[in-house]
């Protein structure tokens, strides 16, 4: 990656779901080391984009290239609503490590380490599904972080949380980025986007209409759709 080649490149990415062109020939290159926030109105295709890049949705057309050579990066995804197994917080992280092939002897220490980094050490033994929404989302972040992903996709991770819990999640996302993981995240919270973003990708009707450094985007968005979105004028679909 020292040569600055993109970590991930999508060309002509098209995804048709139930007759809807959720992505419509989208082009995107993600350089390493940045925090990208994907913005766009409801239905613009943000979730489908993240799920497609993550490999959960097969593109109808177009291609996704990793590192420019086809090797899929180590990656993880955090969803708006975390899905936890009916077992302890610690066991949920250990489960992800087991699936990833991490040898048993080191799983527990790695899992405890990840819980500590998101501030959940005290509830490691509690059943994951009885934790609060904010704690469960941080647990989802710990589970993802423990996998030491090169890239982490987050789809509106704070949309169901109260402001305090959202701020905690934001802090953890910033820490994950600082530790070297590429962040690609969607949000409808523009304050959060300003705080977290190095660059903004703006989606409109299944295409990336612009990809701009964050400070420039909020001053002078390039596309008229983005300008309207920032003014809050884009009609909700």
């Amino acid at each position: 990656m020292a040569d600055g080649a993109p970590l991930l490149e999508a060309r002509g990415l098209t995804v048709v779901l139930g007759g809807v062109r959720a992505l419509d020939g989208l082009d995107l290159a993600l350089a390493p080391g940045l925090r990208t926030i994907v913005l766009g109105a409801n239905g613009a295709g943000k979730s489908v984009l993240l799920r497609t890049l993550h490999g959960l949705v097969a593109p109808t057309a177009g291609e996704i290239r990793w590192h420019g050579n086809g090797r899929r990066a180590r990656q993880a995804m955090v969803f708006q609503r975390p899905v936890m197994l009916r077992r302890s917080a610690l066991a949920n992280v250990e489960y992800a490590l087991a699936v990833a092939g991490v040898p048993r002897p080191v799983r527990e220490s790695r899992a405890r380490d990840a819980l500590g980094r998101v501030g959940l050490s005290a509830v490691a033994g509690r059943s994951a599904r009885v934790l609060s929404g904010g704690e469960q989302q941080r647990l989802a972040l710990a589970r993802a972080w423990a996998l030491e992903p090169e890239i982490l996709f987050l789809d509106e991770p704070t949309a169901s949380l109260d402001p305090g819990a959202a701020a905690e999640v934001e802090r953890v996302v910033a820490a994950i980025a600082a530790a070297g993981t590429r962040i690609v995240m969607t949000t409808h919270n523009l304050g959060q986007a300003r705080r977290l973003a190095d660059e903004i990708v703006f989606l409109h009707a299944g295409r990336a209409t612009e990809q701009t450094a964050a400070d420039r985007f909020f001053e002078h968005p390039l596309s008229p759709e983005a300008e309207q979105y920032l003014k809050g004028e884009l009609p909700w679909k």
Binding site: R51, H54, L56, A76, M77, F79, P82, V83, M84, L85, R86, R87, Y95, A96, V99, A100, S127, A128, R129, V130
Partner: protein
Amino acid sequence: MFEILSSFEIALGLITHADAELWGIVWLSIELSVVAAVIGGAMGLPLGAIVGIARFPGRRALIVVLNAMLGLPSVVVGLVFYLLLSRAGPLGEWGLLFTPKAIVIAQAALVVPIVAALTRQVIEDAWAEYAEQMRSLGVGTARAVRTLLWDTRFTLFTVGLAGFGRAASEVGAVMVVGGNIDGVTRVMTTAIALETSKGDLPLALGLGVILIGIVLAVNAAAYGIREWSARRHG
């Protein structure tokens, strides 16, 4: 009215004085129903889990068949096994007709569809919730199935209890393949049917009270398990 009340009094006497005939029937019922629930559960659970998760040709047809079997008159199921197990039938040489084993087989056959249908629902709901997260983590099918079964274990145990309830309350099929032979294949339900038709209301009532008690206890246990697991695991 008076006759019913006095019958009820005698029935309670039979229960409290541990009438040997009555308790013999009760234990045989419980024993056969537990075995039938275990065998039927062992077949219905994987069947339901596979139908709940896997997508294969004929899956919808299988679901329709399973659901139809839920509503099958048990007497007809009994008749089918009667024909299979009777001397002239294909399984006649096993000599099982009118034995407790025949009862277990018929009961198990009735337990399979109910356990399979309930398991399918449980597993399908859990899979709808978990699928995307599991695929994101890279969980393979075999591990996903194991994880789902383990995560729904308390609910699935209550499915097993429902299977036991089905077996224990069964009359028609048990009558046909068991023959209701005194001391051999006479269980609670068939005894109630017989004693009622003979006019021996106290024994029928006594058995009825016990059967209702068992069904209540099983349902209370299922309810308690669900409540406890919801509090413990969410």
